[in-house]
């Protein structure tokens, strides 16, 4: 919104000439990141106390037999912090008339509403199994994905250039490989639902979901900046997506907010994100992938999430449902490592390293094509 100040007040030699900073995407992205970070960190302690007082904690019934190395009693639903900080940062620094920003914000709102309802249900019944049912949850996620897919596919509403409306792009491959036609709607729905659930599964250890999530957000931020930029997109031979640059600012806000959340979520966690955090994080990442038509890139950049999801599919669907036996020790994947005797901190850091590596590989795919 602050870019409007530039439009209103900027004169090259006037008292407000510093407002030109508010026009550059790069500087606004930096400011957005700082804003998100500052809000998360400054409001964090109070938010955690408020969540605790409101009773949003992992329940403990009897403190006498408390597992003193366990995590019971930690406030949850801290994902609200990420969502609010991201929203404020985006509101302040993005161009609010930009369709990419509006769609991302819609994803943020939709999925955090879904996550909040889920968490509140669990809280009301005092049972982690009593959240939203699996199918309604999946349908609501897919509903957003299909809506998004239709908007991107239909010429009247699509903010994308015509050659990207229904095509599939692969990382490390120059031209779009195939025109999917209307099935691109399904691909969009699939990636959104996949990302939301995968981040949800990964959210099991302190700092495990949030760090890989902001690495992926960073990747899409850079891609947004490059794809929206005339010079870079021409140089790197991408199809330019006018207006996608604003996504860099949105992503920067998200990264800042997430880092601020990590401040409190780092082991031993003072707060968990809950579904109110993991669903919007995943949903927004999936939406970003679809908006930039880099859906397959998510499988690379978000490889950690893919592995978590794959482990669940293997264990629950192939093992439990089909063969009636376990295939890997435990699912999702991080529990396998825990079962093998690895400390939580070690698993988290190793997952961060892997996702950092994947981020680098993803960024290489900008040039190596």
């Amino acid at each position: 919104m602050l870019n409007l100040l530039y439009d209103l007040l900027y004169e090259p030699d006037g008292a407000f000439s510093f407002l030109r900073l508010f026009n550059y995407i790069t500087s606004r992205a930096m400011f957005a990141a700082l804003t998100g970070l500052a809000i998360s960190i400054l409001a964090g302690q109070r938010s955690i106390l408020a969540l605790f007082k409101a009773g949003f904690t992992d329940r403990v019934r009897d403190y006498g037999v408390l597992d003193i190395s366990g995590k019971r009693g930690t406030p949850t639903m801290g994902g609200v912090m990420i969502v609010v900080a991201t929203a404020v940062a985006a509101f302040l620094w993005c161009d609010l008339s930009n369709p990419f920003v509006l769609i991302s914000a819609a994803a943020l709102v939709w999925f955090s509403a879904l996550g909040l309802v889920d968490d509140l249900q669990k809280h009301r019944f005092g049972d982690a199994e009593k959240g939203l049912r699996r199918w309604p949850k999946f349908l609501l996620q897919t509903a957003f994905g299909i809506g998004l897919g239709l908007i991107l596919y239909m010429p009247a509403t699509s903010p994308l250039p015509p050659e990207l409306r229904s095509t599939l792009q692969l990382p490390f491959v120059k031209a779009p490989i195939v025109d999917l036609g209307w099935t691109s709607v399904l691909v969009t729905a699939l990636i959104v639902a996949f990302a939301a659930n995968a981040v949800n599964f990964a959210d099991g250890l302190d700092g495990l979901a949030v760090v890989p999530a902001f690495f992926v957000a960073a990747v899409y931020g850079v891609f947004g900046y490059v794809l929206g930029n005339q010079v870079y997109s021409t140089y790197l031979q991408f199809v330019k997506i006018p207006g996608a640059g604003e996504l860099a600012i949105f992503c920067a806000g998200l990264v800042g907010a997430s880092v601020g959340f990590l401040w409190f979520n780092a082991y031993p966690a003072e707060v968990f994100m809950g579904d109110a955090g993991s669903l919007p994080l995943g949903g927004v990442l999936g939406t970003l992938a679809a908006l930039l038509r880099q859906e397959v890139l998510f499988l690379l950049a978000g490889g950690v999430f893919v592995a978590e999801m794959a482990s669940v599919v293997l264990q629950d669907w192939v093992g439990l449902k089909l063969l009636k036996r376990r295939i890997i020790y435990r699912a999702p994947l991080h529990h396998t490592f825990q079962y093998m005797g690895m400390a939580e901190t070690k698993i988290a850091v190793r997952f961060w390293i892997v996702s950092g590596l994947l981020m680098v590989i993803s960024l290489i795919s900008l040039k190596v094509r």
Binding site: Y63, G64, L66, I68, P268, K324, R325, M342
Partner: protein, 683 residues
């Protein structure tokens, strides 16, 4: 014609059937109605080919048949559709019947036939063409599902047991007791009955019967028990086998076959059998002990005639209602219960009674006349001789539109002993939790509770679905049900008879899936019995293709170490598993080696894992060595080797247990708070 009718000579429609237990109460009520309203005309609505076919016509009441069926046990769409079709046809026929015959009151005594009649009447009432009141009688401790449904449209519901009342709409249900026929309500004395049947007064008589259609398990059980029962002095066993019904079971032939299989033909002085006993009430009065099914009718006759009963409830009935009836009597100290055991033979479940157990129970009771008298007296206290009278009056009053008299004070049913009654309502998962919590927090399970839980466990072990069998092994483990280690061991060993070649690779050649095999081994370890079956299961498990089965097998061997020691085959198998690709199995095997390892290279085998990539395997090797030392099995040479090897242990580990001092302090505060006694003076 029916236009001008006084208060008397009403039309009474009776319905209820399938088994005698549902028909007799209706007839008992009719008998009493005749006394109150001599001009009464009756119509009985029943199903073709069931007990009402021969019980009703002899009383002179005309019988009409309508289509009806019980709710299918399995919820397959086809069975449900067939049930719905039958039900619709039944309701249509019942509606036509009601319009034509225009009863003044409907008396339903359950069994699935009464539901369509009550529903048809409810529909007619909705349409405004009928205002016929409906009286339902529920005989069982737990109402069937169709009776519960019909209860919503009944005017008055009378039940035998207080436990059935909460299943019906509030305010409609009362406890009236069970209406028994006058012949039984005023029984002969034992001596009169024996004189009539020409039985010597000093004989000790056991009456065995499994209902009019016979009970296979009871028939085979009692015949099998005969050799052992021959030792009881003065015993006379009167056995009614039952008559062949439509179910395909021929009780007469089956019993004869079982008797022929005995080493010696039964002594006619000990054992008399016939297909049907008439009059049953006289035989009941002549008996000292009655061994029978636990249908509501039989039980109430037992109570009315004040006889001791050894009840063998039929398993796997809807709602398990025979078991619940039997439990209610057992809790009142009015009968003993012997459970049948469902066994799976070639994919079909067959209920069996152990002849040995039956003989032991009968012998024990017959040698304890005091106990027999106590059971009989307690049963007599539960009798409700006025129930038929009260019900008949209530029915007549409703037909005449007069208010119903208040119920006579109910029989004081004692509180069920222990948790058995609560257990009967629980599904397997909750059952398991309650066993665990009773083991943890007490009080310990009573013999009655244990035998009921064992019966439930047997049912699960014989289940056709793997989930059922899975619960079965878990329950057996929790109960330490040693008598079933043969079945549980077989779960680990069994292979499918037919399977495709590739299946063996993914472990699909086993008859039981991985979870059942794993949990069976865990149960065996908990039960703690070691015999040939268990040994074979353990050996099989140690070579299983599923890693969790292998490690559960090792844990079984570990917990049975005292029996296993010196068993070279098992020790070799455990040794092989110390190099298993799965760390979990390696760790379990190394720890187990510490208690079962006898060979000279055990120590070097353990120390050779001091550099394993997984610290939990290293920890298990250390534990194994510690256990070796504790057994004083380590030679001097080995001792130096161990102390040398210790420095070669890779000491780093990727796991640790954090200690949060705040949580520690809080836990200690909470513990103090709970143990705090304000009465104690402060120091």
């Amino acid at each position: 014609m029916k236009e001008c009718r006084g208060y008397d000579a009403m039309n009474y429609l009776l319905t209820g059937g399938g088994t005698g237990g549902h028909v007799y109460p209706a007839l008992a009520i009719a008998e009493q109605i005749r006394l109150v309203d001599p001009g009464a005309s009756f119509l009985y609505v029943g199903v073709r080919g069931r007990a009402e076919e021969h019980l009703v016509p002899v009383t002179g009441i005309p019988l009409r048949r309508i289509p009806a069926a019980g709710l299918p046990a399995a919820s397959s769409p086809l069975a449900l559709a067939r049930f719905a079709a039958t039900e619709v046809a039944g309701i249509a026929r019942a509606m036509a019947l009601l319009r034509r015959w225009r009863p003044d009151v409907i008396v339903g005594t359950g069994g699935y036939v009464s539901a369509p009649v009550v529903l048809a009447n409810a529909l007619l009432t909705r349409c405004g063409v009928s205002r016929t009141p409906v009286v339902l009688h529920e005989q069982n401790a737990v109402p069937g599902r169709l009776n519960r449904l019909a209860g919503a449209w009944a005017t008055l519901i009378a039940s035998s047991y207080p436990s059935a009342v909460p299943f019906f709409p509030k305010g409609k249900a009362v406890v009236s007791g069970y209406p028994v026929r006058s012949k039984i309500a005023e029984p002969l004395s034992r001596d009169e009955a024996r004189r009539e049947l020409r039985i010597e007064p000093d004989r000790r008589v056991v009456l065995v019967f499994g209902g009019s259609l016979g009970s296979r398990s009871l028939n085979r059980g009692i015949v099998g028990a005969l050799p052992a029962l021959g030792a009881v002095e003065g015993l006379l066993i009167i056995h009614a086998t039952g008559r062949p019904g439509r179910g395909g079971y021929d009780p007469v032939a089956d019993t004869a076959r079982a008797a022929a299989a005995l080493p010696r033909p039964p002594d006619p002085n000990l054992y008399r059998s016939s297909d049907y006993l008439d009059p049953m009430s006289t035989y009941l009065a002549a008996a000292d002990l009655v061994v029978s099914r636990a249908g509501a009718g039989t039980l109430n006759e037992l109570c009315a005639i004040r006889r001791a009963g050894l009840l063998v409830p039929k398993a796997n009935l809807p709602g398990d209602h025979q078991v619940r009836n039997a439990l209610a009597l057992q809790a009142a100290g009015a009968a003993e219960v012997l459970y049948e055991r469902p066994v799976r033979i070639d994919e079909t479940v067959v209920e069996q009674i152990s002849p040995d157990e039956l003989a032991v129970r009968i012998t024990a009771l017959m040698n304890d006349p005091g106990r027999l008298a106590e059971l009989g007296d307690r049963a007599g206290a539960l009798a409700t001789p006025g129930a038929a009278r009260w019900l008949a009056t209530a029915v007549v009053h409703l037909a005449q539109g007069r208010p119903v008299e208040p119920v006579p004070p109910p029989v004081p049913w004692p509180d069920a002993g222990g948790d058995t009654d609560r257990f009967a309502l629980l599904p397997a998962s909750a059952l398991l939790n309650s066993i665990r919590s009773r083991q943890k927090n007490g009080p310990p399970l009573s013999p009655q509770e244990r035998s009921y839980l064992a019966y439930r466990t047997d049912g699960y072990l014989a289940a056709s679905g793997w989930e059922g069998r899975n619960w079965g092994v878990k329950l057996a483990g929790a109960l330490c049900y040693g008598a079933r280690v043969d079945i549980i061991s077989a779960f680990v060993v069994e292979r499918r008879r037919h399977h495709r070649a590739g299946f063996a690779l993914v472990g699909l050649s086993h008859a039981q899936n991985g979870f059942v095999r794993r949990n069976a081994l865990t149960a065996l370890a908990e039960i703690g019995v070691w015999n040939g079956d268990v040994r074979r299961a353990a050996l099989c498990a140690l070579r299983d293709c599923y890693f969790e089965v292998r490690s559960a097998g090792v844990l079984l061997v570990d917990s049975m170490a005292e029996f296993v020691r010196g068993d070279g085959e098992i020790e070799d198998a455990v040794l092989t598993l110390t190099d298993d690709p799965r760390f979990e199995v390696r760790a379990a095997a190394l720890a187990a080696l510490g208690v079962v390892g006898q060979g000279p290279d055990t120590v070097s085998r353990l120390t050779s894992h001091f550099l394993d990539a997984n610290w939990r395997v290293r920890a298990a090797a250390v534990k194994g060595l510690t256990r070796m030392l504790e057994r004083h099995l380590v030679s001097r040479d080995d001792l130096t080797r161990v102390s040398d090897a210790i420095s070669g242990l890779l000491i780093t580990s990727t796991g640790f247990k954090p200690l949060f001092e705040l949580k520690d302090a809080l836990a200690s505060l909470s513990r103090t708070l709970r143990g705090y006694d304000s009465a104690e003076p402060a120091v």
